[in-house]
């Protein structure tokens, strides 16, 4: 009985993911899942290590460019191209993480932003490879035995890979490694005193996070058929952080919810441009004020109080958050 209850949210999640392209536009549905994964990678650092990265566009963009270039130059299956993108981003995250994790707080954010800007300018100048401002277009997506012409087809083909990404994020958070990360977040000197080489943990978390962002970015480029300079722009980093905060920091699944809201809003407002700034701003202000801990966390707590006050604490229906006392 209890096991069934634990699995229920996942079954619902999978059912929703499968039905999504039928109820909304498949391209938008794919974007929501990918931005969700991207924001999750930000949340992995922000929510579980306490590091606010303001330069994740570098990994999302590099993943996109690497996958696009691979798919364009060699006729490889899209899944391989996406994994190549993830690999490239994880590789880039090694030196960046190595340097950036020596700082905390605002300084960490500044350093990551600076690195991302570096990547942006390299991509802008290296026109032969990246197409500069025009970007790379006509990125093919193929997989032996599948026809991926329609966007709904690609959505279903990419779904296993995206799910794998979510699963990885979930596993990282729920592993002993993830628990050490939370310990570092809560009190780094104490974790050090316990014998953990905290800096190494932080670098590894940074690399894993970069790789996930790269996977999402790679699939984004393949799904949309192009990689452009926007993907590397600092506002892209900002949007990922925004999605994480709206959904709820340190909840993982909140990032998905945040992505639904941000992207749906953006889509709806393309036909009402005069209202876009005001409406977006107002919605964000309301969410931040009314849902202090993000939509997911606040919603879950409300549900718990409503459903079964005393015992519910044992059944973590979010399945996402590591709850450690922050006394």
């Amino acid at each position: 009985m209890r096991r069934g209850l634990v699995l229920l949210p996942y079954a619902v999640g999978i059912a929703v993911a499968l039905a999504l392209p039928r109820v909304m536009y498949p391209v938008l549905a794919l974007d929501i899942l990918l931005w969700g994964l991207f924001a999750m990678s930000v949340d992995l650092l922000l929510g579980y290590v306490g590091l606010l990265s303001f330069g994740h566009a570098a990994f999302w963009g590099l993943g996109a460019y690497a996958a696009a270039i691979a798919a364009k130059s060699a006729d490889i299956p899209f899944a391989l191209a996406a994994i190549l993108g993830a690999g490239a981003s994880a590789l880039l995250a090694v030196p960046f993480g190595y340097l950036a994790t020596r700082r905390r707080g605002i300084y960490f954010a500044m350093v990551t932003l600076a690195f991302a800007q570096l990547v942006f300018y390299v991509a802008n100048e290296w026109r032969d490879l990246t197409g500069g401002e025009n970007g790379l277009h006509g990125v093919p997506r193929t997989f032996p035995g599948l026809s991926l012409g329609r966007s709904a087809d690609f959505y279903y083909a990419a779904l296993p890979l995206i799910t794998l990404g979510y699963f990885l994020a979930y596993r990282i958070v729920h592993s002993p490694f993830g628990h050490v990360l939370v310990a570092i977040r809560d009190n780094e000197p104490r974790a050090q005193a316990l014998g953990y080489a905290t800096w190494r943990y932080k670098v590894l978390a940074f690399v894993l996070s970069g790789g996930l962002a790269g996977l999402a970015g790679g699939l984004f480029a393949l799904g949309n058929g192009f990689a452009s300079l926007d993907l590397l722009h600092w506002t892209t980093s900002g949007q990922a952080v925004l999605i994480t905060i709206l959904g709820g920091i340190g909840t993982l699944w909140g990032s998905l919810l945040g992505a639904v809201i941000v992207l749906e809003l953006r889509d709806a407002l393309t036909s009402a441009p005069e209202a876009s700034g005001v409406v977006t701003g107002a919605v964000f202000v309301v969410i931040v004020l009314a849902f202090r801990r993000g939509l997911w966390a606040t919603g879950r707590d409300a549900l718990r109080r409503f459903a079964a006050p005393p015992v519910s604490a044992r059944i973590d229906i979010s399945g996402g958050e590591v709850r450690h006392g922050r006394s």
């Binding site: 025009n134 970007g135 277009h137 006509g138 192009f226 452009s228 005069e274 876009s276 700034g277």
Partner: protein, 417 residues
Amino acid sequence: MKKTLAGALAVLLLTAACGGGTGAGPSGGTVKLSDGKLVIAVINDQSGVYADLSGKNAVEAVKMAVEDFKAKYGENALGGSVEVLTADHQNKADVAQQKAQEFYERNNADLILDVPTSSAALAIADVAKTEKKLYINVTAATTDLTGKSCNKYTFHYAYDTYMLAQGTGITVTQQGGKSWYIIYPNYAFGQDMEKSFRQAVTAAGGNVVQSDGSPFPNTTGDFSSLLLKAGQLKPQVLGAMQAGGDLVNVVKQYNEFKLKDQNIKLAVGLLFDTDITAVGQDALAGTVYTTPWLWSMDEQSKAFADKFLKRTNIRPTFAHAANYSAAWQYMEAIRRAGSDDADAVVKQLEGYKFNDFFIRNGFVRPEDHWVQHDALIAQVKPKSEAKEAFDYSKVVSTIAADKASRPLSEAGCSMPK
């Protein structure tokens, strides 16, 4: 009235001639729409830096074209209703691409129009290619649309970087501006412009002393280091390739540094009427530039501009006029084809020769889908010479259509059949 009659007669004759001559399509002008209605979607920037030069008023222009078309040929001119959709792409390529896909797939759009920002335009060209639906680009300047990214369903209307360079680069050099200092925004558009201008100036017997890129986006709006350098280099011409807001800053600082008094002439790459409104006419007075069209160039253009003014309270930029004209020519092509089927319309457009208030000596090149036509060299007048509001420029000379178009040998387009 007389003009409308004559026009209608000419079109009738033409339709008859086409129908009779090639035997393709019904000649009577009865149109059968595939889904009972025609859908035209305008995707552009309605909230950012390009919102003024095209934006919402470009949508109005397209709506005007539809209304005028019905007024001319009757309510049932196209065999069904005509719907105009629009979306703000916020100058983001991914938003543009998604909207295009959605319009084609979900709203059954038959045509997408406008689309400033070259990365967005190129993204939509890709969608048009895979969806096999039409896209007529108006406001993006990149020659890639008719070059390495060309495809069967994409057309390029109005202007491109080649036209601008041929016009301004050659004319100014021939008028005695032999030595040039070029400053350009350091991204694809600016670099294209720098390359094209360098070629044009050199071909006309001039000499580019030096060229420098300015950071893009230039958030501080500071171009003083480049302008000080211009003061030291003392070229005869300062060629500014910046566009929109950046151009406005360059011009203001050009005036502050009093470069005009040192006999350094200003030539700009791309100038919209809305930029002149922003800087002030006198600050730009004397500037020579290339444009595909001016609202004040002749009577039929003024007639359009008057109608446009009544509707939007501004005079049209060439982007507004071009959107009207492109929509109009598309609907004409449907009447000739007798159907809104994309392949049939493409067939009617390719190789088509035409004139309207915007396009003179027009010809749709079948090889790369560049719509070639005459371009104008214009000069900004001082405010004292302006007869009314928005009367900014006068025509200096006309560049013949073939001179204003990139030679096919340089296009590098291999059109898939």
